[in-house]
């Protein structure tokens, strides 16, 4: 057992137009939040492939945040709604893997909401901290095939979608 204090690692996927700008604003306004989140910029929350989330969890993240523009404010008109739909299905999948609901979070944050984004990040970190480490990465270390299996998922999915000629 690791006796060190548990510091959760959260990977954040932030959309370029609203949430990433909210993170910029949180910085400019010197709003302090816990450093456990590591942010990846995507053009739109609609770009977040569920496999990004699975990959992050598989590689050792304890939680994943997806952040986008508020409904109705998407830079690409309506793609955050697609992120929202996809997120619901992803949550369903994660539940079947036994992954707690609080480990993934969909957060709306407009470019003006630095404070709200920082609060959401802190809130999520506390929830994941309470849940403890997600031990996927440990299992992955024991059995190197897990990662390969995840990477194969898309292919298998594609095969399943093929209609026989």
């Amino acid at each position: 057992m690791n006796t060190e204090t548990f510091e959760p690692k959260i990977v954040g996927f932030l959309c370029n137009w609203c949430s990433y700008r909210a993170a910029d604003l949180a910085g400019t306004a010197r709003i302090k939040y816990q450093p456990n989140v590591r942010i990846i910029r995507v053009m739109c929350s609609g770009r977040v492939d569920p496999s990004f989330v699975l990959k992050a969890l598989a590689l050792g993240a304890d939680g994943v945040m997806i952040a986008g523009c508020h409904p109705g404010e998407c830079h690409y008109l309506e793609q955050n709604y697609k992120a929202m739909r996809r997120f619901q299905m992803l949550k369903h999948t994660l539940r079947s893997f036994g992954i707690e609901e609080d480990r993934v979070r969909l957060q709306w944050a407009s470019a003006a909401e630095g404070v709200q984004l920082a609060e959401a990040i802190n809130d999520m970190i506390e929830k994941v901290r309470a849940l403890g480490p997600l031990n996927w990465s440990g299992k992955y270390a024991e059995n190197g095939e897990v990662e390969a299996a995840i990477e194969r998922l898309a292919e298998e999915h594609a095969e399943a979608m093929e209609v026989p000629a």
Binding site: R38, H75, A158
Partner: protein, 675 residues
């Protein structure tokens, strides 16, 4: 991996270096991260010396990738891309890590800041090695501009562009241009007559050879992209042949049907079924209102047709469609007024002598229904006391939390006009007085001296229920005077509600049509609230006036001019660069399932029936990547945001767990929670 990566860590003075051990970070990157051949730290990377550092290393060390750990890419990505480009490296092979906005400025614990900084640098180094060379495409910009909305902001924008020699299509959905300003009597704080300053501008628009005025028309469809928009307009039928009409007005005179005018006259006056909203309307052509026209109701009458000297009436006229190609679009679609009926305790609609601010404008206006006499609803009595209630529907969390910006000054103007015209006592119920532009405070002082009464407190109710002697036949305004800490009941003859400004009821539909964003309350979102207030996130689409937020006439005019200046610089440069961040479908992988086809809100994805695969029109693609994420066969790649790039960034970010070392934290982070 064969890429040679250069890592540059910026101190940003002490902005980053004060919290992150920049020297150690650069050394660590150089030693630990695969592919890194040069790692430096420097005081200000964005300075010309800092940029030269990168350029020299690209040339001398043969760098093939560059990572800059500095501020947000929104600030300096262009700077460092240009530096790469100067040294002959494709600009899209440069990646930034936001050490300032995401680490040093937001983290209190130095050890944890160092670890997070390492994670971000590692993520960028991993990612950049998968980045690909991209070329921005250049497309020509059409010199024509579409301006939507012909209020004062749209008029100003159109005139500026037309005077500069460019063709403008000015679209207005009402029969005349002029917008709200045409309805006003005077303008604050100078008390210029609104019509006197507006109508010359209106006729300039009507006569300008470079302005194609399309009144009584609406935008149906917008497609294309910056420099090359295609717009379809519906020109609504006026039932008047514009080429024959001389604007003599005989049809209006002869029309037997009177209709309550609830648009221009705000329900205070009447117009005919064939009408011009106001005498100085531009264009001069009237419109037949088919809902009220006797001929359209019963099939007989045609009085207008009988008397028209030029046979310009055409009852069979149909709506026509116009297709335009424009390079840029300016939206100046204005505002709606808050519906004061939503606050029943103020009695509008129930108590006759409660007026809205717009009704009062018409009452005051010399060309209005009372010829400028301020009279009660009975049409004969002059009020002897008037109450003005501020912030009706604004600064009120039940309706709109924003300040409508113009009501304080309008209320002062109303107070002045009431006292000047009737000598009545005027009571103003305000929350805060906000006369905050040039000459406004002086106007407030003037009204204080003229004897307008100011009571600080939000009004609880307006009632006609008499409780004390002296209140009979009056409207009683009940409010707490917060400056003396007492409840007051003030009996008056007339109450004016300063209705707040709201975004247009159809603002969301308009935003969707033009592909721009709007806030939760429906105001169009500017590209940057301070530094780019008239551009939107969509290239080639600009906003001006109150569609962006509540503002007064001078600010609307300034924005109209600013938007036209932005458009002019687009037109004169002639070409515009389009970011190469688009999606591509790989034909051989596409199964033709068509899942992606309906995902694209820009209709950039078509299905090729012959090949049975989907195809992306890259000119229409805006690069959101939603289709990339949705493709079950992974047949779509998103340039600059490919799966490979993002997977490797995840891997890099999680450097400390992927390698199994674990994040070594001494104490649980007790960061202060934001206030």
């Amino acid at each position: 991996m064969t890429e040679k990566v250069g890592v540059y860590v910026c101190h940003c003075g002490s902005n980053i270096a004060g919290q992150v051990d920049v020297e150690d970070l650069a050394n660590w990157a150089g030693e630990e991260l695969e592919g890194v051949v040069v790692a430096r730290d420097y005081k200000f990377m964005c300075s010309s010396l800092g940029q030269e550092l990168i350029e020299e290393d690209i040339k001398n060390e043969g760098l093939t990738r560059v990572v800059v750990g500095a501020c947000s890419p929104h600030l300096h990505e262009k700077t460092f891309r240009r530096a790469c480009s100067n040294a002959g490296l494709n600009p899209y092979l440069c990646q930034m890590a936001s050490l300032r906005e995401q680490v040093s400025w937001v983290t209190t614990d130095k050890d944890l800041a160092n670890t997070k900084a390492r994670a971000l640098i590692s993520g960028a180094v991993h990612r950049v090695q998968h980045q690909e060379e991209l070329e921005a495409t250049e497309v020509p910009v059409s010199p024509n501009t579409l301006v939507v909305g012909a209020g004062i902001a749209g008029i100003q924008a159109s005139l500026e562009l037309a005077d500069a020699g460019y063709q403008v299509y000015l679209v207005e959905r009402e029969p005349s241009i002029g917008g709200h300003m045409a309805q006003f009597d005077k303008t604050f704080p100078t008390l210029d007559c609104a019509a006197c300053i507006l109508t010359p501008r209106m006729s300039d628009v009507g006569q300008h050879p470079n302005i194609n005025l399309l009144s009584y028309s609406e935008v149906e469809e917008v497609s294309g992209y910056v420099g090359n928009f295609h717009v379809r307009l519906r020109k609504k039928s006026r039932y008047i042949k514009e080429e024959d009409c001389t604007g003599c007005g005989i049809c209006i005179e002869k029309c037997p049907k009177k209709v309550l005018d609830d648009v221009f006259e705000a329900g205070m006056g009447y117009r005919k079924a064939v009408y011009r909203p106001f005498p100085q309307a531009v264009p001069k052509f009237p419109v037949i209102d088919t809902e009220n026209c006797i001929y359209f109701e019963r099939g007989t009458c045609k009085a207008c047709e009988k008397f028209c000297p030029t046979d310009a009436i055409d009852f069979e006229q149909q709506d026509t469609f116009l297709d335009l190609d424009v390079g840029n679009i300016i939206l100046a679609t204005g505002y709606d007024l808050f519906d004061t009926r939503k606050i029943p305790q103020y009695g509008y609609g129930r108590l006759a002598n409660v007026f809205t601010s717009l009704e009062f404008e018409r009452l005051c206006n010399a060309s209005g229904p009372t010829d400028g006499k301020i009279l009660l609803r009975d049409g004969v009595t002059q009020p002897q006391s008037v109450a003005i209630i501020h912030c009706v529907g604004s600064r009120d969390i039940r309706f709109n939390s924003h300040c409508s910006a113009i009501c304080c000054m309008s209320a002062l103007k109303f107070g002045h006009l009431v006292m000047e015209k009737t000598g009545a006592e005027v009571y103003s119920f305000y929350i805060d007085m906000r006369p905050n532009q040039k000459g406004y405070e002086e106007f407030y002082d003037r009204l204080l001296q003229e004897g307008m009464h100011f009571i600080r407190g939000r009004v609880a109710e307006v009632t006609d229920a008499v409780r004390q002697p002296g209140e009979e036949g009056k409207l009683i305004v009940q409010a707490e005077d917060t400056l003396i800490g007492m409840q007051r009941r003030i009996p008056v003859d007339m109450v004016i509600l300063m209705s707040g400004l709201e975004s247009r009821a159809d603002a969301r539909d308009v935003a969707l049509k033009f592909g721009i964003a709007c806030s939760m309350s429906g105001w169009f979102t500017e590209r940057h609230p301070k530094l780019d207030p008239v551009a939107t996130m969509t290239d080639g689409i600009f906003i001006a006036g109150t569609c962006q937020g509540p503002k007064d006439i001078p600010a609307s005019v300034a924005q109209g001019a600013a938007a036209s200046a932005r458009v002019q610089s687009m037109i004169t440069s002639g070409m515009v660069e389009i970011e190469p961040i688009v999606a591509t479908i790989h034909e051989e992988k596409c199964s033709g399932c068509r899942i992606c086809n309906n995902l694209c809100p820009f209709n950039a994805i078509d299905f090729n029936e012959e090949k049975m695969v989907s195809v992306i029109n890259q000119a229409l693609c805006k690069g959101c990547g939603t289709c990339v994420a949705a493709c079950p066969a992974q047949a779509i790649t998103g340039a600059h945001f490919s799966n490979e790039q993002i997977f490797s960034e995840i891997e890099g970010l999680l450097f400390d767990v992927v390698s199994g070392s674990g994040l070594k934290a001494a104490e649980p982070a007790k960061d202060s929670v934001p206030a």
